[in-house]
Amino acid sequence: MSKTITYGSGIQTAFEHVLENYDDSFIIGQGLWSPWYVGNTMVDLDKKFGKERIIDCPVSENSVTGTALGAALNGMKAIVVHPRMDFMVLAADQLVNQAAKWQSMLGGGIKIPLTIRAIINRGGEQGAQHSQALHSWYAHIPGLRVVMPAFANDARDLLIASILSNDPVLYIDDRWCADLEEEVTELQELDIKTIGPKIVKEGSDITIVGSGFTSCQALQAGKELAKDNISAEVIDCRVLNPFNPDLIIDSVRKTGKLLVLDGSWKNCGFAGEVIASVSEKFVDFKAPPKRMGLKDSPAPTSQPLEENYYINIHDIVNNAKSI
């Protein structure tokens, strides 16, 4: 049997690879000395690499993010971890006004090897402030690369690419992906500029696009659809900013149908961006494209409400069939 890797262990491997091979790297964030916050993705890094480089820190999202930016501007590969993306909103100034803009505002030529790891951690009756997937907000901002892996090998290689980039990168991983397995590939140090959307299942009848956890759902839905002889091509966006839609456009030229999944709300969301980007280049849809996202409300805590809140495979399959 071939060797497998989980998404969570992919992240762990990436951190270990970088910390071992790059002395100028360090990590700061809340909960780094406790599995409570970051699950099985940063186990014992503090014991292996020392508490000087793995810094569990005060509840000061804004200042800690700015501190990481300042360290990145001064020669360090700085990684800051926000165990829940909701709390990262407190650091929006440092992400949107500072990290994303210093390169341009100060005339270019400035290395900013800053990685911001944000974890989406929803479900379990955690409610509206422990659940948000805010990738679309940040993908709006020129100067901030936004990366969102869905599969285990990508979780590893995209994290390494993010850390080795000389631009600020928002790396968004998803707790719901943490235990998903994949056949392991060889670890790679990739140039983030060369990474974009990827076909994860080839098909000819419909293009289904996802990002992060919804790409995993898209793949599963694609397998379900195959049972009904519907051949879905599944594409994982992977890099949301700067976004290159060419692969998706080529796929829709072939299938003529498009369903886009987003783990967040639809209004001004990334699914709309995907459909718009395709529609600007392609008009011969066999049917109007569709998107799926969350209901237009904050996340509920009550279990029956929560169960119906997030998109599920059954609905994806039905929507795909309806196009």
């Binding site: 700015g66 001064n74 270019g108």
Partner: protein, 343 residues
Amino acid sequence: MTKELNNLKNPKIGNEDPQLHLLSDIEYILLLKKMITIRIAEEIISDNVKSGLIKCPCHLAIGQEAIPVGISQFLNSDDRVYGNHRSHGHYLSLTMDTYGLFAEILGKETGCSKGMGGSMHIVGESEGFGGSVPIVSATIPVAVGAGLAMKLSKSESVAVSYFGDGTSEEGVVHESLNIASYYNLPVIFVCENNLFSSHMHISERQKFDSISRFADAHGIDYAVIDGNNIETVLDTSKKAIEIARSQRKPFFIEAVTYRWKGHVGHDDNVDVGLQRQEDLEPWKKKDPIGRLKNSLIAKNAISESDFDSFNKAILDKLNKEFDQAVSDPYPKQQQLLETVYYK
């Protein structure tokens, strides 16, 4: 907490001339010329804002020249200094690059930020000026991060963070003071308390008028000083920088000063609610340049006519530079997209 400055409407900051002990006469004359350069550069910018040749918002620091000149005296190019919206003086005190500043403010490709930043986003990496931005308080954690990088890389450099009294009303300042203090980071916080945040006097914004109380709260050593007395600034910055460099811990300087111009632009901003007619004239008597001049004349290091000739020479040089900057080219259109990501 100090109570020495409990009535800043009638400030007890002195009018007396500085007692010059720390440096040689030649060094003091150089500092005087630096302060005059900053003053004249700001006046040229002011005149050209008034004439309409400069369009971008300019926050001038006339009256505050002693602080950056005194701080920069003990820094080197490996140290990193971060500024704010009112940073022409911070930048010039390290670089003396008046031409690059003029060109930047005019949006020219020869500017210190290649014409991409204007007055509020300036940089001079090779001389230690890491950058300035106008979002109030934003560079404070960045300076703390520079300090963290210096600690992790075991260098002997220090970081300097300039900010005003209004900045202390932002939450991230307190997060950052805690982090700098707890992790023992070599950061010198320099609060230029010019008593105003935009159009509002400190008494209209805070119960107390001394910003150093926040350093005290976080266990950071601090000093409250007359920011218009070059000797006091030199003396304090020397100690603060030595402490940060050798003991690897932060220091907080509250330098009380006064902004002669309004919040932004060439005039007094009375029309937008700035109330300070009674205070401005007494503060002009505390002119940091005039006071250093008096001390140097008193010890026969310079004459009144030397002072006049310094002014004239600097004015001629800066006028020529400004004219050159006016005739320089604007950035090419493609520069816009070429500077979004690192190349």
